[in-house]
């Protein structure tokens, strides 16, 4: 049976215009591999929204990054102060991967 290693699964939901900046911050935290997933709508403390590609200002993208506990912690530390001001959602959970090195 293939052995798996534990890593952190980090998910950040952010407005589309903010994604390049968040990717940059991830890089600063040592996270260079990620996947972007589309969303179609939602609701939160700042009201409802539905995907709007017109200006892109109110469409949100989910950034998924699987990484080591250290990098995850560094990323969270950098992002934490921005969560409230930038209406971000940050999730962190446990995940298992096969090729451990690939997700450091």
């Amino acid at each position: 049976m293939t052995s798996t290693i534990h890593r952190r699964r980090i998910e950040v939901l952010a407005d589309e215009p903010l994604i390049p900046a968040i990717v940059r911050i991830a890089g600063e935290a040592g996270i260079t591999h990620y996947t972007l997933m589309p969303t179609s709508g939602g609701a939160g403390a700042h009201g409802r929204w539905r995907d709007d590609q017109l200006s892109g200002a109110t469409s949100k993208v989910m950034l998924l990054a699987v990484t080591s506990a250290e990098h995850a912690a560094a990323f969270i530390d950098r992002l934490a102060p921005l969560l409230e001001s930038h209406h971000l959602m940050l999730l962190s959970s446990d995940v298992e991967v096969v090729r451990g090195r690939k997700f450091d």
Partner: protein, 322 residues
Amino acid sequence: MALDALLQPVVLFFLLGALAALVRSDLAIPEAVAKGISLYLMMCIGLRGGGEVAETGFTHDMLLAGGAGLALSFLLPLPAFWLLRTAGRLDRTNAAAVAAHYGSVSVVTFATGFEILRQTGMAPAGYMVAVLALMETPAIITGLLLARAGGGDSLAPRGGLLHETFLNGSVILLLGSFLIGMIDGKEGLVSIAPVFDVPFRGMLCIFLLDMGLIAARRLLDRRALSLRTVLIAIALPLANGTLGVVVGMELGLNAGTSAAMGILAGSASYIAVPAVMRLALPAADPGLYLGMSLAVTFPFNLTLGISYYGWLAAHLYPLLRS
């Protein structure tokens, strides 16, 4: 003119969309299609304007109009900011973000106005498309200065915000199409006219149907909108539009071109500016600035504003010329 304008298909489809959203129908245009049409409209407008300038060549009027447009875009946010701070009771950041929207312009409002003016024999000069492009971004700079925001924000892009501002997709596409129109001239554009000229009005109908849906849905979720902000979202286009028309007149532009200047000054951006503001002033509430520009000002201009600017230009013209 007002009623005729209201009964044109373009406006009726906007009202249909708004109605559908208000009765909470599930009618929806796929976002990808709406985005595609909005890009298409910019290409049409750019090509048309460029093609006309290729014929007329650069004129004195053109320079005047361009300068006036730049000045309006830079300066209009100032009184708007003051009004939003005082009467609107908005904090500095939100007031600055909203003010930037009203200094900038709405491509679709311009396009619709252009069509309506042409119908009533007041076709504006083609170079107003260039003025449109010129007016999109300066207001953003004023807005950022008013908010005292710079690259300080840790999420601000490396290249600074000016890059985001001037290389915004809509600005590039509009200017690029304008240049292509100038290079190829009207003859060169004949072979693509079946796509970029003939179907323009019809495509505008589909787009405005979607705008009606978007605007009304924003209005329904008017969490961020107060009566004050709604009233300001009607007062600003009226004031700015009137100013635009008068400025055009004073510069000696013809009635149709002055009306177009009024439409530009009176319209508020909902594409280029929100995208930049979301990044530059994250603390500003998108529900507020998109609510005002998209859900109030845009419908107002489409239904009444355009007709008013046209009427004003038509009636001021003889007075000022005599």
